[in-house]
């Protein structure tokens, strides 16, 4: 049931196969330290990017073996990539980080048993088989909608679930009433002659929990003159696998993804999840040794766009109506940056441009907007303590803005913030949404209010 082939310590050491200059690129100047959420918490070098890189280098040099303690360190790192933004030397931390996690899995220093089971179930089964994932989603929805969940919670049954999982039960997101394929047709065309032809990536978590955001994204694209192609029953992009030490599975998923799209016929491939986008833009690198898929992946990389990036690139059409309030008071909204959108993809101004284009919104800047919220993939499951600290810090900053609504652009952050705000009913900030949803709503109201009055 182990994820990657090979038993403990068998096979070539991945850190040694890395281009050594990637490790050497870190000249330990320390510019990363104040931006690293784990270093700032503990002030220990091993919990910092430059400390972790020093460990990786010591392993590649054969000075120290890969140990359980190193494994713990690599899973303590959020992978938020704030260090990559801060690094003047241009260290490719994401590659080092992913290779190290893969090294940890290859060397088998982590405890076996339960951990293997959950990794197998999620990475190898659920997230490799979209139909199965959606079937499980459906079951979860039935559980949540029939009152069974309420009953289970009243009986205190979650306490019987072993280990950390019981305490996670309240964090389980509510499964959407319909998935993306039910909400979006395979091909949708704008009212006028399309200016662009784009594909829409529906994601896996986004599809299960926030399918409406995919619908909103399609609407926004249509309103901006794009024909939208949405292949049915899409695969997970593989970011979960890439970030969690399973590069072979990530490559496998990338190939399957590429098979679903006629890349040459598209102007762009649109993603609306920060974490997926950050991974999707690196299929070329992921498959660069693959003679068959390599060239297509490189072409794919050139065309993948985050939705905000794309809207700004093609010139966003400003809606004439405000999204919600009937009275004239503007909705105060603040923006939380998903790590992989801002640090991974360097997309920081575009979501703000999108929000700024919506009438009736007052955008308030969030202090530490690019500081991780603690979601970080499955970090809230693997490191609940540190995750909770980061969430608390984020909620405090949200409250300081005085805004009632927070927009973000990644399903993980969205769920994390919603979970945090649920536990604080007294907070002024009470709603989590996404920039595209606000924009889509504005276009919808514009239609309701009698169509476009001006271009």
């Amino acid at each position: 049931m182990s994820i990657e082939p090979g038993k403990k310590g068998v096979g070539a050491m991945l850190l040694k196969q890395l281009d050594y200059s990637v490790l050497q690129q870190c000249m330990h100047c320390g510019m990363c330290l104040p931006t690293c959420p784990t270093y700032v918490e503990t002030k220990r070098e091993r919990n910092s990017p430059r400390g972790r890189i020093a460990l990786m280098r010591a392993m590649a040099d054969g000075e120290v073996p890969v140990t359980r303690s190193f494994a713990d360190e690599m899973y303590y790192c959020l992978g938020c990539l704030a260090c990559q933004t801060a690094c003047p030397a241009g260290v490719n931390y994401v590659e080092l980080f992913e290779t190290s996690r893969a090294e940890v899995e290859r060397s088998g220093v982590q405890p076996r048993g339960q951990r293997d089971f959950w990794r197998w179930l999620t990475l190898e089964v659920l997230f490799m088989h979209p139909r199965l994932l959606r079937a499980v989603g459906l079951m979860l929805r039935v559980y949540q909608q029939t009152g069974l969940q309420t009953m289970v919670r009243r009986l205190g049954l979650p306490k019987l679930i072993p280990g950390k999982l019981g305490s996670l039960e309240p964090q389980t997101p509510t499964v959407a009433a319909a998935f993306s394929d039910d909400l979006i047709d395979a091909v949708e065309s704008p009212a006028e002659r399309p200016r662009y032809r784009v594909a829409l990536l529906t994601g896996c978590v986004q599809d299960l929990v926030f399918s409406q955001i995919n619908r909103d994204t399609a609407d926004v694209l249509l309103a901006n003159g794009c024909e939208v192609i949405t292949p049915r029953n899409q695969y997970c992009c593989g970011s979960l696998h890439g970030h969690n030490g399973a590069p072979e599975l990530a490559r496998d998923l990338a190939r399957r993804q590429l098979d679903m799209f006629d890349v040459d016929s598209l102007d762009a491939i649109i993603t609306n999840a920060g974490g997926c986008g950050s991974h999707l833009k690196h299929y070329g690198h992921l498959l660069h040794h693959d003679p068959v898929y390599g060239p297509k992946a490189a072409e794919w990389d050139r065309k993948v766009r985050d939705i905000h990036e794309w809207l700004v690139e093609i010139g966003i059409r400003k809606p004439v109506s405000a999204p919600a309030t009937v009275d004239s008071t503007p909705v105060e909204v603040t923006y939380h940056e998903s790590c992989h959108l801002c640090h991974g993809q360097k997309i920081t101004s575009q979501p703000r441009v999108v929000l700024g284009a919506i009438p009736g919104l007052k955008v308030k800047e969030l202090p530490e907007s690019n500081w991780c919220c603690g979601s970080a993939g499955i970090y809230n499951i693997t490191q609940p303590e540190q995750s909770a600290k980061l969430l608390e810090r984020k909620l405090k900053n949200l409250e300081a803005t005085g805004a009632g609504v927070v927009a973000t652009s990644n399903p993980g952050c969205h769920m994390q913030l919603a979970f945090g705000l649920r536990s604080k009913p007294e907070a002024k900030c009470h709603e989590v949404t996404q920039p595209v949803s606000l924009l889509a709503e504005a276009y919808r109201r514009e239609r309701e209010e009698g169509g476009r009055q001006e271009e």
Binding site: Q24, Q25, H28, C29, R46, V64, C87, P88, A89, G90
Partner: protein
């Protein structure tokens, strides 16, 4: 290393608690270096004291066991000053991180040594004051480290270096005694200036755990300008001309083509990358004086061959430019695997000649050298872009460095303007000092630390 195996480590655990003592491989590897390239040595153990008393207790314990002590803050030093020795104890002072007092009536601030320098400036700013020394690493480096290394910065030209702002300090002496030196008085000539002995002593004479700093009123206005040149010498001539015109701007920073390219690649703020040299000039003070000085400096730049001179639109743009400059050193690491930063200072009248010499030396030894620095105070950072794994090239780096140092000393300059001697420069120190002054240095060390337990092997053997 297992703490059970070594009695002194076990004693430290007893003293400070297990959480404050690190001794596993995974914990020690990241403490085997500071910001200096190509120097590394793993210590036996790292401890995190939380008070001056903790530090004193650690020093006493180390003394009893004959264990060398290396002190460290954020580890951003650039001369190997906080690189450990084998079997040494590293005292990491980042957890002494409280600002103890801001005294706006006396314009002073008292802080523990582990406070980040930028936080000191931020705290002063809340009272309309500022702390002038601003090393490139100010967002990371600790004030204790800045005092121990007597750090400089971008504003050194007008405001001087860390030494000029230290009014007092608490220092743990090599025998474990705690001494307070200095006070809030602007004038004080009682006895020897002992605090000055510890400023820039690089952890070899005592351990600074608390500092009393002088603050200044924030200047009312500030102007930032850029001047671009087709030759490095023209930029250097501009600097000499500005000083000769009796203008003391707060900043005159210089970046060569290679450095500019790297900084722009990182910061993407629209710096020109097709010029041979760029001067970042800044003047601050009374608004009328600032306007006048800014205009005169721009004129002088044009007269000395600047291709283009422009003024930052506002303070925010000026701050962005200065921030980009702060990253010059790290940004240069984009070119080659190993970045060796040098730190020579010459009298300002010699700048143009020195810059020319550095370029010739690079060409002669077929090396890449990016040069940037605080030109206004004569402090240059020729930075070797090389690969430590290439032995033949590293040999050429050594030769070139030797020639640059010889030239510096011949010009009446110094082998380090702000980074300290540490391990990196100790080989050159004797060359700069006469016998009497070099012997005096050693005598001071011997008087204070006869057993040689504090940061041994740094500054001199």
């Amino acid at each position: 290393m297992n703490s059970d195996a070594t009695p002194w480590i076990a004693a430290l655990v007893n003293l400070l608690g297990g959480d404050a003592v690190l001794s596993s491989d995974e914990d020690l590897v990241p403490y085997s270096f500071d910001g200096t390239a190509a120097l590394k040595q793993r210590p036996a153990c790292v401890v995190f004291p939380r008070s001056t008393e903790d530090v004193a207790a650690c020093v006493k314990l180390a003394r009893e066991h004959g264990v060398p002590v290396v002190t460290r803050g954020s580890g951003t030093g650039l001369s190997g000053g906080s690189v450990p020795l084998t079997e040494c104890l590293v005292l990491c002072l980042v957890k002494l991180d409280r600002i103890l007092e801001v005294d706006p009536r006396n314009l002073t601030l008292r802080a523990q040594c582990g406070v980040i320098t930028k936080e000191i400036d931020d705290a002063a700013s809340g009272h309309g004051l500022f702390y002038p020394p601003d090393p490139g690493s100010m967002k990371i480096s600790t004030i204790g480290g800045n005092v121990a290394e007597n750090s400089g910065g971008l504003r050194g030209l007008k405001y001087g270096v860390t030494r000029d702002y230290v009014m007092g300090m608490t220092v743990v002496l090599p025998d474990g005694e705690i001494a307070w030196l200095g006070n809030k008085c602007v004038k004080d000539v009682a006895g020897y200036s002992l605090k000055d002995l510890f400023i820039g002593s690089e952890g070899t004479l005592g351990i600074i755990t608390e500092v009393l700093l002088k603050l200044l009123p924030k200047p009312a206005a500030r102007r930032t300008m850029l001047a671009m040149y087709d030759s490095m010498e023209a930029a250097a001539e501009t600097v000499s001309a500005i000083i000769a015109a009796r203008i003391i701007p707060c900043t005159l920073e210089f970046l060569d083509r290679m450095t500019l390219g790297c900084v722009e690649d990182y910061a993407k703020i629209g710096l020109p990358t097709d010029v041979e040299a760029l001067l970042l000039m800044e003047t601050d003070g009374h608004p009328a004086a600032v306007e006048d000085e800014a205009n005169r400096m721009m004129d002088i730049a044009r007269q000395n061959g600047a291709r283009e001179v422009k003024m930052a639109a506002d303070e925010a743009e000026g701050a962005r430019l200065a921030a980009a400059r702060r990253n010059a050193f790290s940004a240069l690491a984009r070119v080659k695997p190993t970045t060796i930063l040098e730190d020579v200072t010459v009298p300002r009248s010699e700048l143009a000649a020195m810059v020319k010499f550095i370029n010739e030396t690079a060409a002669k030894h077929r090396l890449l050298i990016g040069t940037f620095g605080h030109m206004g105070d004569g402090n240059l950072h020729p930075t070797f872009l090389t690969n430590e794994k290439d032995e033949e090239e590293m040999h050429r780096v050594e030769l070139a460095l030797g020639e640059i140092v010889d030239k510096t000393i011949a010009m009446g300059g110094t082998i380090t303007g702000e980074h300290g001697v540490g391990l990196a420069k100790k080989g050159f120190l004797k060359q700069q000092f006469g016998k009497a002054s070099y012997d005096l240095l050693k005598l001071v060390k011997k008087a204070l630390d006869p057993a040689g337990l504090l940061n041994p092997g740094k500054i001199f053997d």
